[in-house]
């Protein structure tokens, strides 16, 4: 249980959300209002991870989303897509107004991201456990071409219950893909309840190390800490990296934090939208 102690130490001094983090969350609420539904808790825990990746880490061109030299970012936990959509809107891949159409009939923004519809989305995800294998293939392609593209795969903690993730981890470890980074949004609450009750992942860092990854843990809401750690990538010169981000499900909405009931909501009433907006002022 060393990792739980580590987690407690890591998240002790989480700074309060700054204006940018609140702004991005307000955009998520805007999309939730537009669609009347969405994975709230799962998206809110991801915001700082996505923000730091797109603000400080990834190489990309919003007007040339298929630019060959770009870094690849796969949101394997596709249900957290609202956190991705708001960054894609913020960076100019998609118009900001598209957020209002979330989940509507003719929208490009569905409840899970589709690569064929949304500029900047590398792979269609939604069914869990697929992204790390996509990333493995992309990283191998980069190695074949001697291209210094980096590949980031963002996974949920419930998602890594899937056996396919551990098959992919075995292979990535074998191939010593230093430019592949697995990022875990470890909010410790999956759809049915706390991960320690539903399918305990501990000792999580040790598991990834055993599969051949260099591992670091970080407060997944501490922008400076995330940025500093991502800049250190790769964590080792002879193996892929895993960054376990200790996060809070529903972060930023005090009434939703740590609560599995906020994993997903449908038929969201306007009063609830107002309540979320008020919490993010």
């Amino acid at each position: 249980m060393a990792s739980r102690a580590t987690a407690n130490r890591i998240v002790q001094a989480t700074p309060p959300l700054d204006e940018r983090s609140k702004h991005l969350r307000r955009l998520i609420v805007r999309a939730l209002d537009g669609g009347g539904r969405g994975h709230i808790g799962s998206s809110m825990s991801l915001v700082e991870i996505m923000r730091v990746l797109y603000d400080d880490v990834l190489r990309y061109r919003p007007l040339e989303p298929k630019w060959h030299e770009r870094d690849r970012m796969i949101l394997s936990k596709g249900h957290g897509c609202l956190a991705l959509y708001v960054l894609l809107a913020d960076k100019g891949f998609i118009p900001i107004e598209a957020l209002d159409t979330f989940c509507r009939r003719d929208s490009i923004l569905g409840g899970h991201p589709e690569a064929a519809k949304i500029p900047g989305v590398e792979a269609s995800t939604g069914s869990l456990g697929h992204g790390l294998s996509f990333g493995l293939g992309m990283a191998l392609a980069a190695r074949i071409e001697r291209r210094d593209t980096r590949v980031f795969v963002v996974m949920g903690d419930g998602e890594i219950n899937e056996g396919s993730i551990w098959e992919a981890a075995l292979c990535a470890g074998k191939h010593r893909l230093t430019h592949l980074t697995a990022i875990i949004d470890y909010n410790k609450v999956q759809s049915a309840g706390p991960t320690r009750e539903i399918q305990d992942l501990e000792p999580l860092a040790d598991k990834w190390r055993a599969f051949g990854f260099a591992v670091e843990e970080v407060d997944g809401h501490d922008v400076a800490a995330l940025s500093s750690l991502f800049r250190r990538l790769p964590l080792a010169s002879d193996r892929p990296s895993t960054i376990i981000c200790h996060t809070v499900k529903g972060k930023g909405l005090p009434f939703a934090e740590h609560d599995a009931n906020w994993h997903h909501k449908s038929k969201i009433p306007s009063e609830l939208v107002s309540q979320m907006c008020a919490a993010l002022e």
Partner: protein, 316 residues
């Protein structure tokens, strides 16, 4: 057929740098030349089928053309969702090469019998499904495979299968081949796929000896189905018979029947379907043993057709 197929992967890899081979846990020394000469395009990833499909998808997203090989049941059933989402939803040019299609692995029992591979693969949008009849045709098919834009499931037979295909008839994905054309009007038409084409040709010989003129059409591509050829030959046929080494639920025969009923306004068309019943085969032995149990040897096909014609005559 398997050796030819894999040798062709090596040949294609020499010619085209997009070609990748991914195996699971196959024979030692498999494609040793390719492994030695182009190690960055040869992968043997162990028993991780779900991962292998996703990895192939990731490579294909980057412009590569992966040929993935393992036992047919494991490359279809075991990782069906990965095939659906990773390959078909993204519509990527990954080729799945399934060893031991149909009843080839008879001695190994039902875990290894690919009885529904054709059915479940053809149910997936964007998937192309191919079952060639011999090694010579495999070579021609592989030549066409490199630039086909969609995912392909390639069903392999036992190996050492008699060569009945003819190079002069050519090979185009999605275009059926008339292997034998009846000389009289209102013939029996055998429509078939894979190595059942060989049995159907022999059955046609036996039927002709009994005075029953029979056409044999080989649908190496089950999906997309060559609909014009089905309709052209069904029109005016005395009896259309589909023959397949696989379950009759959702397979080749279903594809033909669905087409005939939808295009024919649902009106009656003499149609007989031969294939596997809705069971896991309970016996071992060899492929031919199981084919015999389910009435799929050449003589049995001929007898079943003759009986059906007699019944038809009696009803008339």
């Amino acid at each position: 057929m398997r050796n030819t197929c894999l040798d062709m992967v090596y040949e294609l890899a020499k010619r085209d740098r997009r070609t990748i081979f991914i195996g699971s846990d196959l024979s030692p020394g498999l494609l040793a030349g390719m492994k030695r000469e182009m190690p960055e395009r040869y992968y043997m990833e162990g028993v991780t089928e779900a991962n292998i499909i996703g990895m192939a998808a990731g490579l294909a997203m980057e412009g590569y053309i992966p040929y993935v090989n393992t036992i047919a049941t494991f490359i279809t059933r075991r990782c069906y969702e990965q095939v659906a989402i990773d390959l078909c939803l993204h519509n990527l040019p990954v080729r799945l090469i399934g060893n031991g299609g149909g009843l080839v692995y008879a001695p190994l029992g039902p875990t290894h019998l690919a009885i529904e591979d054709i059915s479940i693969m053809r149910a997936l949008p964007n998937m192309t499904v191919i079952a060639v009849c011999d090694a010579a045709e495999m070579k021609r098919m592989m030549e066409c495979s490199l630039d086909w834009p969609q995912p392909i499931y390639i069903r392999l037979a036992k190996g050492g299968d008699p060569v009945v295909s003819r190079s002069e008839l050519g090979f185009t994905i999605g275009k059926a081949i008339v292997m034998r054309e009846a000389r009289t009007s209102k013939p029996v038409v055998l429509m078939t796929t894979g190595i059942m084409t060989t049995n159907c040709l022999a059955a046609a010989d036996a039927l002709l000896a009994d005075g029953i003129d029979t056409s044999v059409i080989h649908f190496h591509t089950v999906k997309p189905l060559d609909e014009p050829t089905v309709l052209e030959h069904a029109k005016g046929a005395r009896l259309v018979v589909t023959v397949e080494e696989g379950t009759m639920i959702g397979g080749f025969g279903s594809a033909v029947t669905d087409l005939l009923t939808s295009k024919n306004g649902g009106s009656y068309l003499p149609n007989l379907r031969l294939g596997l019943p809705d069971v896991f085969p309970a016996k071992y032995g060899v492929q031919d043993d199981l084919l015999e149990i389910y009435g799929l040897t050449a003589n049995q096909i001929a007898q079943t057709v003759a009986i059906a014609l007699n019944k038809e005559k009696m009803v008339a």
